[in-house]
Subunit: 389 residues, 4 copies
């Protein structure tokens, strides 16, 4: 068997992973943690959707697989492991044959999201978006191919070959990055369990080992809804937040990071952010690109400085239309939002991204990783206090 021993090892992982997924899947706020808005802190002017999550955009699915395994000193390739994978799917249907309009913007290319050349050339997304840790991108990409083959058995035979979209941040301060612990089981789990409804945040999925503003970071999400006059569209963001120095952090404009200077990690783990934005507004790839650029504005609202070492990527898609993979007809018709009415969508994107990042740090709990390296959760009482005074 090709992967037998891997699979044996993997099942152990999977058990851990499924437990984590199950926990994560409960989507209950982790004990002692709360989302920004639940702390009484609001940012922006638009109202969030019912879940204040990317899944407020109808049809969008999110799945996580989390691996937390081992403790103590690093044995390279053998843990401790603090990592995972997060999947975002524009819809639960036949994505390959019913692509969605999409585009990606790279603000600082010190990082990687694979597959973006094709996303931007075609103006479409035809595969799930997967997020994971940096040195795991290859393995996750390969697992994505496997998952696609399972779903589309003719890929690379009578059907086209597939180019996965896999984004990374570096969790090596907590995680044994050399282990590249995310394999097929976790990727399949994240994809197969992806669901609508509440989204687990913080140290979950790809966010498991991430840090933001030198606090524990990871996955965060938020959404905004435009008024009826503006079209009533929803914009949702999901981020894997792994960037920033402490002093940069601003919450609702307040320099919170300057006020909480303890609880520092022993080293700076200078990372990145991948931002995924979904909307049900009928926009095409050019307009998705415009939203992707605004995602970076939302990032800046948190005080981010887009450091040399921070790979800052934004991938945006619209769920409002479908693009066939193999169009039979020469022509197709599509309904689009006029650029003259797009500014509210920009603003909603900025607000959703800003709050998604802040939700990531609010929801992440303190985590001890390899070599005892510790990423501290932002103390929510001190956050609240810093903002209110």
């Amino acid at each position: 068997m090709f992967h037998r021993s891997l699979n044996v090892a993997a099942w152990t992982l999977v058990l851990v992973s499924l437990v984590s997924v199950a926990n994560a899947g409960s989507d209950a706020p982790e004990a002692g943690r709360a989302r920004l808005r639940d702390l009484g802190i609001t940012t922006g002017r638009y109202a969030p959707g019912p879940l204040n999550a990317i899944t407020d955009v109808g049809g969008v699915l999110v799945g996580h697989a989390t691996i937390v395994r081992g403790d103590g000193a690093l044995v390279p390739g053998h843990g401790p492991v603090r990592t995972g994978v997060t999947a975002v799917l524009p819809h639960g249907g036949d994505l390959w044959n019913q692509k969605v309009p999409a585009a990606a913007f790279v603000m600082n290319g010190n990082g990687e999201v694979t597959g973006l050349h094709w996303v931007n050339e075609s103006g479409a997304l035809e595969v799930p978006i997967l997020l994971t840790n940096t040195m795991n991108v290859g393995r996750v990409s390969d697992a994505a191919v496997a998952w696609m083959i399972r779903k589309y058995p003719d890929l690379g035979i009578g059907d086209d070959v597939v180019l996965p979209v896999v984004g990374e941040c570096d969790d090596s301060f907590l995680n044994d990055a050399q282990a590249r612990a995310v394999g097929e089981p976790e990727v399949f789990s994240a994809l197969d369990t992806a669901h609508s409804g509440p989204v687990a945040e913080g140290a979950v999925g790809a966010g498991t080992g991430m840090m933001a503003f030198e606090f524990k970071g990871g996955i965060g999400t938020a959404s905004r809804v435009l008024s009826k006059e503006q079209g009533g569209f929803t914009v949702g963001a999901l981020v894997n937040a792994n960037f920033g120095t402490r002093e940069d952090l601003r919450v609702a404009g307040i320099p919170v990071g300057e006020k909480i200077r303890d609880l520092m990690p022993k080293d700076m783990n200078d990372g990145s952010i991948v931002i995924v934005v979904a909307t049900d507004a009928p926009i095409d790839s050019r307009q998705c690109m415009r939203l992707a650029r605004r995602a970076i504005v939302g990032l800046a609202y948190t005080g981010a400085t887009v450091r040399h070492t921070s790979g800052d990527f934004a991938v945006v898609f619209s769920t409002a239309s479908r693009i066939p993979h193999y169009p039979k007809e020469l022509l197709y018709s599509v309904t689009l939002l006029s650029d003259g009415h797009i500014t509210p969508l920009f603003e909603a994107t900025e607000e959703a991204v800003e709050e998604a990042i802040l939700n990531a740090i609010c929801m992440a709990r303190t985590m001890v990783g390899r070599d005892g390296n510790t990423a501290y959760a932002i103390p929510l009482d001190r956050l609240r206090q810093a903002v209110s005074h």
Copy 2:
């Protein structure tokens, strides 16, 4: 053991592969095949280097691992396999810590070369360039990480994480693409056996299953040397040629493809090209980008039309300087070629790319792949005849 059974299987592969590599490594023209220039056909005005290969650029190393395994009907995931991997290294030293200036241009993003966001942001290349088949990119990327870890055991621990550069073309007309047959053994083999000197061409390494102009295609290489007054610099190109319809093919301007309309594959396998250009001219990343754009001009000289389905990528690096990964000093000094003197380098790039593509089809032998699918070698006598009349 993590990969034990994989490794067992892999050793079989490796044996096959090493044989292929050994054959390929002999660098002797395959029986009955010849390079364009050896047919008496010359293109361009600049003289080639001694080998007329990318390895004429001092220090550049090329390695191939080739997998030819099985015959007959496709059993998806189990062959027949006609694929491989090709490695290009700017130098044989400590590439991670002594990066080289680089840039990449994407003419048509219907394809993938991973890691280019970082190449273009940093203006440098710090990893080998690997070429392989499309659905194998993830696995090759993961193997590249493993190879880098072997070489730099502190990666992702005290050292940075690594972003591999892996480019793809689609060989699924001949190859069982679902098998993703290129794994660690082949990647390690290609990297570890990479050498200066003659470069095997045609159906070798990543070119094993490729087609160009509906002939058998694959790996080709060529070089050009500027005059002493122009700086005496060398430019070398290596391509994985897998694009084009028959009727497009032009050799030295002659519409050869229109004259050889038989020997057609039963289906069009509409692919891509990845172009690697090396030079010892002292240029920075901005200038590498300018060369990368000219690589596309050389592509067009072969009659290429840059079809919708063709991912056309060019990666360019200079071997003339070294960029430290962890600069201790704030400042460094570099010597650069003035833009006012760069046009000959553009022309040399164009000529090298054009001839590299033509060498690929001249050197590739007929190959029968999965389901009896056959890619015919261009008949050299008819090529010669077509050009001379």
Copy 3:
């Protein structure tokens, strides 16, 4: 008075210019000159439209104003003048309020086409495209504003401000570039006399003083029509050809430039090309960008090397839809060509551009400019001979 003498001179110019325009407007092949196809030389596989001109795309209008004034030694700012302006309009209607989808690609930015940031951001063209000489861009741009104000008297008051699209090539080998001789009268004339039907080529309008392949160059045009199965769409190109060394020139693949080494200008005037492509295919701005990149492939077919000094710009628009300037509705519907069927449009673009460039040099007559500088017309008999042998 600051501009008095210039303005006095300008009226003279206008008279000359109007005569020239009248002549140019006759659209008769200049005596002794012929278009490529009329020489019995064909390139490409698609059929041209009825006029083999950009105006085969329904609704497209082209106008020229030509200034040929003075002889002998240059008196900077006072002539001799060999220049002009060419206007291309997507349609003759209310362009400002009924924009067309558009995009522009810059292959080598050693030149200028103003207004492209807005074209690419909005994905639309809302003003005429104007071509002229380099140092005249400002004055032509200002005249374009004046023309737009005349047409839209509320611009910059209750209406938006306007950003002209003006492209340049450098005609200073023949022309007194410091004179910036193209002013409002010429710009208004080119715009007001723009018409459908045959397009004057060669040394006319913006092409008056241009050189290509060290022959006399200038304006050229061509078109291609897709088959009914491919959608029956028309693609037309218009170029201002002012680039290339003699030895680069290829006609239908034949290195004609190498065969005609006399009739050289005394100095190389190393210039640029602006390419305008129109189509009635229903494509959006992303697809226009894809066509714009293929325009460069067509350029390369002529042997162009995209030298350091050559600004190579392509602007593409589609006449198939209209985008309102002030959309009242949030949403609009549009019919688009599927990317899966776009390759023929790419090929047609390449062919039209290639032939447009060759038409420019075939139609241009020898011109003597400032300081007796002479740009020789390519001798058509020798061209024919070179291609046929």
Copy 4:
């Protein structure tokens, strides 16, 4: 005569203009206005340079010409005029032959800065940067050519042709945009009087008629100095601020705009921003581009949302090296800052841009323009109060 009356008027303008320039040249804070820092409000962590201005970067020169003419109802083309031109020169030497490294980033292309294709292709700036109002770009560009010809009489004869860099914002709420009132006299004045030392801010030069956050806006500047360990480099920013809705405005993170909702203009004049950043850090064009992207981060810190209608451009240059226009030697040597040490420069850029924007609104006085349209100055006492509470 075409331009006679305009030209007659122009001399009047010049007188007015020179007076304005003289006033502006005194560089004294306008009565009742103060810079942000003088209000006791500080943003950012780095120290400003001695002048807290772009001219803290050694050698950088700034000149303004201001036109304030007429009152009352608009007579299109005849005023009232509230506009001007601002010139930024990297150094006072032979800029054409001693270019500086440069790059430009376009965050939202709803606007224009001419000449950027060449800046980004060459990686250099060889002309002054001029800022003005939108429909005046052509005329200013032409004047820039005239000024360059005066300085380099062989331009377009034995010397290259020149491509001006002219950026625009739309001041048509206050200004008679159709007048295109900035001509040669004003452009020559701004260029010829450009000087080091204090920089006039607010409603001066190109900022005369601009609005930001629905307050009176215009020209602002600021600078930052890195520590000795960081290289001791200076970064300076100069902006023409003409963007934003009131509610967006944040000062030091505080939503000041939400607290001052009166003093609104009768219409939203939805504009743009052009940002110029200078540094004496030895960086190349790739690194200038990285700074240009960070300029947008600084913009976002002010609460900017990068609306559809806002053209957001950043042009960055380094004064640390010189690039010859006509290099005699093939090679040249340059000293560069390592990317590994560039983050402080990013942060300094962000801070300088943020403060430059805020200085623009702090220094601008209420202005009544055409049709009685009024842009109110932000009341400084209320600003101070809003920030402190």
